[in-house]
Amino acid sequence: MSDSATTRDTEATRLLLEVTVSRSRRVRDRLATWWMYGSFVVVVIPLGFILFYVVQKGLPELLTRGWFTQDIPAVSRKPGGGMAPAIVGTLVITLGASLMAVPLGILGAIYLHEYGGGGRLSRLIRFMADVMTGVPSIVMGLFIFTVFTLRFGLMGFGGALALACLMLPIVIRSTEEMLRLVPDELRQGSYALGNRKWRTIVTVVLPAALGGIVSGVMLAVARAAGETAPLLFTIGAARKINPSLFDGPNTALSMQIFSNAQTPYAAAQARAWGAALTLVGLVFLLTVVARIVSARFSLKHA
């Protein structure tokens, strides 16, 4: 990466170029600069548009009485009611998925980095984890439908399983990157004090990498909380608060956005925007907290 010295030198060079470089080369340089600035602008505009619409159309819904406390109305074209069941559903399903994927993912990463090293098995697992991050979320939903829902029926737990499958490879790879940043001197110091390898990992390596691991985990959670496709065939539908993962169908914010968006009714579409703002707020909160955690506790490169 270039530092400020290079930037300054570059500016000096540019001034020099102004007088020595031919016109066509200067024009091409200018065009390239426009392209780079333009690309950024081109992306900021839709992002701005989307956030603007979500806030503008969603906020009135959030401010209505009972948005966070009432059940979802049975007739979606009439205004009124709330989104409480979907908020609870998103929270318990995402929490359930995290409880499964996070410990497994961290343990898997420990195997890859602390035990497996460059061995053939760990290379295979690492490669497959990368491939698994690319499996479409709809396929995860179909997978859980075939192995779980067909046997046990629609419930929040099926959705949690599907989300856990999505999160697992993300947690493994981000945790492994963080373990890689822990300096070997820490491990050797621990060995020198007579610690066993497992104690070294649990009491020295993991605490040292904790900030990065937590931040990676939160980004995975944020990604899972916004998913719709894995839930479509696994959790069913519900209009009342269902805090249980195992007792009957459930719902989620993303599901409410999807089903309400497709109706032609103004009240239902407004409900979709409200659910979108709630979901985006939740996901951004997780993302921002993840950034703060990783900035606060980040390991300095050794």
């Binding site: 400020s4 290079t6 030198d9 570059t10 170029l17 470089v21 080369r25 091409r28 390239a32 600069t33 392209w35 780079m36 600035y37 690309s39 992306v43 900021v44 992002l47 979500v54 497994l104 343990l107 898997g108 195997y111 980095h113 602390e114 035990y115 090293g117 760990s122 295979l124 697992i125 490669f127 984890a129 990368d130 698994m132 690319g134 499996v135 479409p136 709809i138 396929v139 075939t146 490879p169 493994i172 070997d184 050797q188 060995y191 066993r196 497992w198 916004g226 998913e227 719709t228 496709a229 479509l232 993303s254 956005i257 999807f258 968006a261 979108a276 979901l279 985006v280 996901v283 950034r291």
Partner: protein, 334 residues
């Protein structure tokens, strides 16, 4: 960086002199602890392999009845009439590929532009903000993009489509791509939404690759009197071509598998056409839209679509990862 060596302290090397020395550390609880911990960690790692194998096996098994009925025509014909047990998914495969291709054409120049902006052109203060904006873009759930695409983008962009269509009507090649009666919900709208979703993935990976270009390469180009663009063109891009290719393929895999946003904006009309402003349909979108009211054989066919999608994305991802892995080795000099 190498992991610490597995030092075995439970035995001392045998020496010639005297009786064998006692081990430095006795076995007992600690030794078992190591074994158990290693075993548990290994199991956790193996879950990845297990889940992937189980995905392939269980979905193929569920899809088998439909595959048996349709045979090869599943991927070679475009007759999808569940009532007559006809399952030809070619139009959906085409829709998935076309919308992803449109997304690619839009997203790649923009993503590489932003990656270069963030590493080469932006004022230093702004570089962190660029990364931040990309993070936000990646964090927005796909269903929210779909909602915006359906309610805001599709109706408002139709006049623009129609203007382009009217302008190109009758021109040989352009007319058959852009001409005709434009629809708000179309391949193009799906492609645009996918492009917005792909950009942060391609950008962040490209940026990381571009950041590994050695400073000496840049300085050398400047030293020979290159402009910034010539430096990028002859030092940065050749060095990072492999990594950018890999990241683009990862983005492509993501676009092909994207479901909800596409289901909302592509228009749910199975057809194979060169007109990008016409409505179409894509594999993941069909699964979502038809699964609810499907009978058992129809369901099996939809799961079969999932299997085809799974295979396609796996192929793209494996190819992307091999490109990137090869590159990792090169930059680490191993």
């Amino acid at each position: 960086m190498t992991p610490p060596p597995d030092i075995d302290l439970t035995e001392r090397p045998a020496t010639d002199a005297g009786p064998p020395a006692p081990p430095l550390l006795t076995g007992g609880r600690g030794g078992r602890g190591d074994q158990v911990f290693r075993g548990v960690a290994l199991l956790a790692g193996l879950v990845v392999l297990g889940v992937l194998a189980l995905i392939a096996w269980s979905t193929t098994k569920e899809a088998w009845p439909a595959f048996k009925v349709a045979g090869v025509s599943f991927v070679t014909t475009n007759d999808w009439v569940p009532e007559e047990k006809k399952y030809g998914a070619l139009a959906f495969i085409y829709g998935t590929l076309l919308s992803s291709l449109i997304a690619l054409v839009i997203a790649v120049p923009v993503s590489v532009g932003i990656a270069l902006f963030a590493t080469e052109a932006a004022p230093r203060r702004l570089r962190k903000q660029v990364v931040y904006v990309m993070d936000l873009l990646a964090a927005v759930p796909s269903v929210v993009y779909g909602l915006w695409g359906l309610i805001v983008l599709a109706p408002n962009i139709r006049p623009v489509y129609q203007a382009i269509a009217d302008a190109t009507n009758g021109i040989p090649v352009l007319g058959s791509i852009f001409g005709g009666e434009a629809s708000g919900k179309s391949f193009m709208t799906a492609g645009i939404i996918l492009a917005i979703m792909m950009t942060p993935i391609v950008t962040s990976l490209s940026r990381e690759v571009i950041a590994t270009v050695p400073r000496s390469q840049r300085e050398a180009a400047y030293g020979m009197g290159a402009t910034r663009w010539e430096m990028i063109r002859y030092s940065v891009l050749p060095w990072s071509r492999g990594g950018i290719t890999g990241s683009v393929m990862l983005g492509l895999g993501r676009a092909m598998g994207e479901t909800i946003a596409v289901a909302l904006v592509i228009g749910s009309t199975a057809q194979i056409t060169s007109h990008v402003f016409f409505p179409g349909d894509a594999m993941a979108a069909v699964i979502v839209n038809q699964f609810g009211e499907a009978d058992s054989l129809h369901k099996s066919a939809l799961i079969g679509l999932g299997v085809v999608l799974f295979v396609m994305t796996i192929l793209v991802n494996v190819a992307a990862r091999s490109v990137i892995t090869r590159l990792d080795r090169r930059t680490q000099g191993a």
